[in-house]
Amino acid sequence: MQHINPLQGTATEIAQMVQRGEVSADDMARLSLAAIEAIDPRINAVTDITAERALAEAEAIDAAHARGEPLPPLAGVPYAVKNLYDIEGLPTRAGSRINRERPAATADAALVSRLKAAGALLVGALNMGEYAYDFTGENAHDGACRNPHDPARMAGGSSSGSGAAVAAGMVPFALASDTNGSIRVPSSFCGTFGLKPTFGRFSRAGTFPFVASLDHLGPLARSAEDLALLYDVLAGHDPADPASARKAAPPVTPVLERGAEGLRLAIAGDWFRRNAFPEATAAVETVAAALGITREVVLPEAERARASAYVISTSEGAALHLERLQTRAADFDPDTRDRFLAGAMVPAAWANKAQRFRTWFREAVKSVFETVDVIIAPATPCFAPEIGQKTFLLDGVEMPVRPNIGVYTQPLSFIGLPVVAAPLWLEDAGLPIAVQVIAAPWREDLALRVAHELERRGTAQAPIALIPA
C-alpha cells in the first residue's frame, strides 16, 4: 500500500521503502520523532525520547546503504519499547517511581540488541502500569496512558504505551511484555495486532521482571505480517535468560501466506463464553463466521487455571518487592501497592499448589491440541473502559475492573501458549476489540497464519487512530 506519510506504513512496508531508497532511515527517524512530539501530549504513551540514539542509528543505516551494503531486515524502521526494557544510558523505571533512582542501564536488553542488529531505530521508552501489575494503563507517577481511539478511555495494560504508540501511528511497532495479558489487553483496547509467543521463545534478558515464572516478551504492530517478521528477528535461545528454550524457531514469514488452509479450527467454550459483554461475543462470532468455524472445544478447568495464575502472580510478584514494600510502600502507585502488600502475605502452600496445578493444566490442554490446531477466544470481556472506571458488570455481578480485564488472557499465558491478538472493528463500533488466536506450544506459525488470514479477509485490521486535537 502507498502512504502519503511513510510512517503510516507497516514495519514491512517501511523496511521495503528504505531498501528501495524511497525514504532514508534518517527520514523515518525524524518522522517518528515529529509524530511523538505532535501526538504524544494528547496520549501520554512515551516516557523517554531517545532522539540522539535514533538519529545515530539512522545515520549508520544510511551510510551502509550509500556504500551499497545489503541492509538488514528492519533497516530504518522506528520503534519504541515498554520502559521495563533496559536501554543503555537510561534507568529502567518499570513504571515505578522507585526504580528511576536506579543507575542507568549499561547495556541494552537482549531483544533491543537484536532489533539494533536488524537495523531498527529506537525512538523511545513507553508508559506502563507500575511494575507491570496492571491491565488499565493508569499510572500514578507518569499519568494515565490514553487510548488513541478515544482519549477518555483506557489504553489497557500493562503495556499501555506500546498499544497506544502503535495505534496512534507514532511508531509502526513496539516491544512489550505479557505475564497475564499485558500485550493482548492493550492490543484489544487500542486495536493493534500483538504476539505473546510461547514461554521461553524470546529472551527476557535485560528486562525488569514482574513474575519470572510467567513473564513473556513480545511485539505489538499494525499487521500480522509485521508480527511474523519481528518473530523471525527476535526468536532464539539466549543463555542469559534462565527460561530461554533451546528450540528451533523456523522463520514464519515464508509460510504466512498459507493462512488457515488445512488447519483444524475451533472456538473456546465454557469459561471463554462466560463473563463476556456483547462486543466480546460478537468478535468471536464474527471470526467464526469468517473462517467457517462450527466446532467448540473446552480447555478443562480454565477458571482454576486463571485462579492459579492470579495466586502465583500476586505471590511471586510481591515477593520480588518485599524489601521495597517494607521500606518504601508509600512510594508505590496506590493502585498496585494494595495488591503487592496483599500478595506479600500469601502462604507458600497456596502458590505451590498453583504451580503444581500448572503442570496438570498443561497436560490437559496438550490433549485438546491433539484434535485442533488453532483456538479462538475473546481477548478482553469488553471494549476499553473509561479511565478511572473501577467496576463493571461481569455476568450481572459487579466486579473490580483492574484485575478482571484479564479473565480470558490469564489461563493461556499460565501455561505459556503462543497467542496472537487480532483486532476487529465491529459494525458501528467506535472502538476496537480483539480476539485471541491460540496455538499449541511452539506453533506461533499457526497462530500467525490464522491472524494473517483474518487480516487478508478484512475481518481483522489495525487502522491508525484519528486523534482529536
Partner: protein, 62 residues
C-alpha cells in the same frame, strides 16, 4: 477438603507485622479486599485434587 473461612483482618494483623510490613490505615481496606480475593482464588486451586506425583515445573536446570 473445604477451606476454612478466611478472615482478612485477622490475617493482616497477624502476618503483616511478622513480615515487617506496615499497612497505613488508608490502605487497609484495599489490602484486605485483595487478600480476600486472593484467598477465594486460592480456595479454587486448593480444592482441586492433585496426585502427590504431580510436581511443579521449575525452570532452573543445574
Amino acid at each position: 477438603m473445604t477451606q476454612p473461612a478466611f478472615d482478612a483482618d485477622t490475617f493482616l494483623d497477624t502476618v503483616a507485622p511478622a513480615l515487617g510490613l506496615s499497612v497505613a490505615p488508608d490502605w487497609r481496606a484495599g489490602v484486605c479486599f485483595h487478600l480476600t480475593v486472593t484467598a477465594r482464588a486460592a480456595g479454587l486451586v486448593l480444592d482441586f485434587p492433585l496426585s502427590d506425583e504431580i510436581e511443579a515445573a521449575p525452570v532452573f536446570e543445574p
